[in-house]
Each structure stands twice: as C-alpha cells, then as structure tokens.
Amino acid sequence: MTTTEAPRGATDELDLKRNGVIDSDVHPNFVNGIRDLMPYMSETWKTRLGISGDDWAKGMAAAQFTLPLDYLYINPAGAYRADAAQPGVPPATDPVFTAKQLLDPHHVYRAVLLSGQCLGIGAMPDGMVAATIASAYNEWMTERWLQEDKRFRGALVVAPQDPEAAVAEIDRVAGRDGVVAVFMPLGQILMGEKHYWPIYEACARHELPLVTHPSGTENVFAKAPQMAGTPTFYLEWHTALGQIHQSNTLSMICHGVFEKFPKLKHVIAEGGFMWALEVMWKLDRDWKGLRNEVPWLTRPPSEYLLDHVRFTTQPFVEPHDPRHLAPLMEMMHAERVLMYSSDYPHWDFDNPDRALQGLTPELRRRIQVETPREVYGDRLD
C-alpha cells in the first residue's frame, strides 16, 4: 500500500476496511486462453476439448475449443488499457502487477473478479463443456488470484445451460475463502424462465448475489443472448448491449423470481442502468391494467427492481449537461442501487477517483463502500 498516493488518505488497514473502495467488476485474464485451465482439468476432458497436447491443427476450426467472445467486432481502441500490459505480460494476467496498478494507488479495499474470458461460455452448444470450463476456472481463480492477495474476491462461475451442474458447482465452491458471488454467463434463454430457478435457489440458500455481465457473444453466436438485429460496428454493438439486461430484468420481475426467492440479489455488471428508470415507470403503469397476467406480483413491479437488482457503475453516465447528473441520480435511487466498478483492465476503465466526481461525498460513499457491503456481506472481510 503506497499511502502517499491514496486519494482519501488511507493510513492503515482499519481505515482501508472502513473507507476503501469496493470495485465490483475486474476481469482476470488467461495468458494462453483456455490452455491456462489445463492443470485444472482431467485428462479425459483435456482430450475431449482438444487441448491435451500440441496438435498440428490447433489453430484450425474444429480441432479444439475456443472460448466464445466478440471476435467478429474490432475495437479500434484496443479493448484494453494500453498501460495494463507489460512486456510479455498481457493485461490482468498477473495478480501482483494488477494489485500494484489498480488496488494500491486507488485505495481499493476489495476487487471482485468477474469471469475473465469465461464471460461467453453460456453461448456454447454443449452445457457439459461449459460446466467443465466453469469448474476449471473456479480452481484457477482460487489458486492464481484469491490465494495470492486477499484484496481479490471472486465470483464463482457456473454454466447456465446446465442448472443441475451449476447447483453442484455452487455447492462445491460457495464455502471457499474469497468467494463472494455467483457469476452466471448469459445465454439465449431469458432469465425469468424456470430453467434457471435451481440456480437462483442455490444462490439464495448460500446468500450469494447472482452477477451477470455482457457476455461478449451477443448476436455473434446462435445460443448467445439475442439483440434486435445484428449491429455492424463495435460502437453500435457495445451501446446496444443494454437491450439484453433490460429483457432479463423484465423477465425476472414478471416471472415472479423475486417473489419465489425473496433473498435473491441480482447484480448487473456493466449493463448500464438509466434504462431501468423507464422500465420501472412503464412496468408500474402497465401493471395496473395487466396485473391479471402476473397476479403473483404483490407489489408494484418497480419495487422488486429497487429491492433486488443492483447495478455496477462503469461505464458511468456522462450527461451532456453536468447539472443533469444529480436529478438523474435521485430518480434512479442511486443511493440504493448503484455499486462502483472499474472494469479494469478494459479500455473503458472508470477511475475510482474521477468517474464519480460529480456526486456528493455521501452518495459516493454509498456507491463505493456501503451498498457493495450490503450486497456481499461479511464475505468481503
């Protein structure tokens, strides 16, 4: 800890615990793709995935699995913070360097690791493959990151295609030191459907928040979450990703997921949040006339969102007129629903000391310290 660089003057561990920032979206990366997971897979599965050895066809289609991501869109900004890479070391592959670049200077108390390059495994056609990768990732994350620096906390990854395997994985890993959430990569089926309910039951039972995030596969793969049409450009695609989170939030509320699982919390990471305003207002208005369709909703639908859904802040809103920020935060109930995130090491990183500068100190504290504490609970300490 380099205290001279700490913006809020952290002086000791206790101060860091009380006032340090909690970052809810940091992506640890593999150096060599799925091959980094080889030590955590059985020979059988390495053979099944075609990653057991040097194969002449390893770069060719169908010779091995590749983790599905947005390879068809080209980000001209490079997808990563340029300074997050060191010579020969790709961004966020080294926990020591990551701590030095992200945690120390920004007075970060805890950083929650989300999924690395497993964001898109929900699009894989074979749920058994996705479940195997998720389990191996959880071992890798534990050994490589959680045991390296306790400031790193992790979301255990599950395969959404196979709820039974997902529940078994939650039960297997939930009790581990450093695990603070369940990360569910998104797939084609909307999140209110009964398909997922066993996963929600397990999250609620272990009191682990469920975290989702753009999968990076939207409209690139057939079993990925579907947008309205396939955008041409990265800029267009990246901005449209909020569609997925709107649809999933509506689906969960309308199916009564939060009536069925009153302890469930859903954290939407990097999914935007201002869209939730219109969703809340329109849901409440239409519900008055359409309640007969969803009679299990015993409260105005917006109340489920405010009680159960939390949003990470990055990329934070930048209204054209900065004076509009305060009323937006008030309308959004920001003090209840927002949780700070940096999205390190990606190109659109939000600096914890700068991104929320337009907000009052009280609101910043709610977003960076208190609300995340309420969501993750004692597992943070």
Binding site: G256, V257, K260
Partner: protein, 137 residues
C-alpha cells in the same frame, strides 16, 4: 397488494336506507335486467347504472386515469394473489374494467383493485323503489 375487503362500506349501507342527494328515476326495473347497464346524464355528469346479477351499482362514467368512459367497460372477476406461475380466478363480477387501459375498479366502492392506485371512482346510491330504478345524485 390487491384490495381484498368485501361487501359495501358502512356509509353505503347507511345511504341505502336514507340515501343522500336528489332522486332521479333511471328506468323501470324490467328495463334494466341482470347483465344490462344504462348510461344517464344528470346535471352534466355521465353516470353508469348497472345491474350485475341482481345487484345495482352506479359509478361516475369517467376513469380517473385518462378520462375513458369507464362504465362501458367489461364487468368481471380477477386473479387472486398467487404463487409464481399459478393462477386462480375469483370474485366474479365484482369489478369493472376500464375500456382503455384495463384498470380494474370495484363496482361497490369505486376503489382501484391495485392498492397503490390512489385514484378512486365516485359511486352513487341506486335503489329500487316500487317499479323504478332510482339513482341518488
């Protein structure tokens, strides 16, 4: 979250015995059989008088939400509060549904089914006096 008390308000019982307002004959009893309704205009106010299974109701014919002709809406029951993915229809014919946005109001009290909807429809006393249906406004 739905309005679950049943039966007319006490004040309405009192009204039925000693109705307030000025009596207006709407029609003869046999002109308003069960299932029928009449929209009448009294002192510039449009009021719906309904015979629902032998019970008479009268409500202001204006939805407090967006001003729709409420009393032209469907009379029906509603879905009970149930567990997710379960349905249970009941309270048949206790509600009138706005023909525009589908808001449901209790025929006897004018209260919205959804408790958070504060708007309430004005209701009037309607009685049978001899062969006449009489509305008090």
């Amino acid at each position: 979250m739905t309005e679950t008390t049943t039966g007319p308000d006490l004040v309405q019982k009192e009204d039925a015995v000693h109705p307030k307002g000025t009596p207006h004959v709407v029609c003869r009893v046999d002109e308003l059989p069960p299932g029928d309704r009449k929209i009448v205009e009294i002192d510039g106010r449009s009021i719906g008088v309904l015979n629902v299974d032998g019970r008479y109701h009268a409500l202001m014919n204006t939805c407090p939400h967006h001003g729709a002709p409420l009393c032209e809406g469907v009379v029906k029951g509603t879905m009970a509060d149930t567990a997710p993915h379960e349905y249970s229809y009941g309270r048949h014919n206790e509600f009138i549904t706005c023909p525009w946005h589908g808001y449901e109001f209790r025929l006897d009290t004018g209260r919205a089914l959804v408790k958070t909807e504060r708007a309430r429809v004005r209701v009037y006393t309607v009685v049978v006096d001899g062969d006449d249906v009489v509305l008090y406004v």
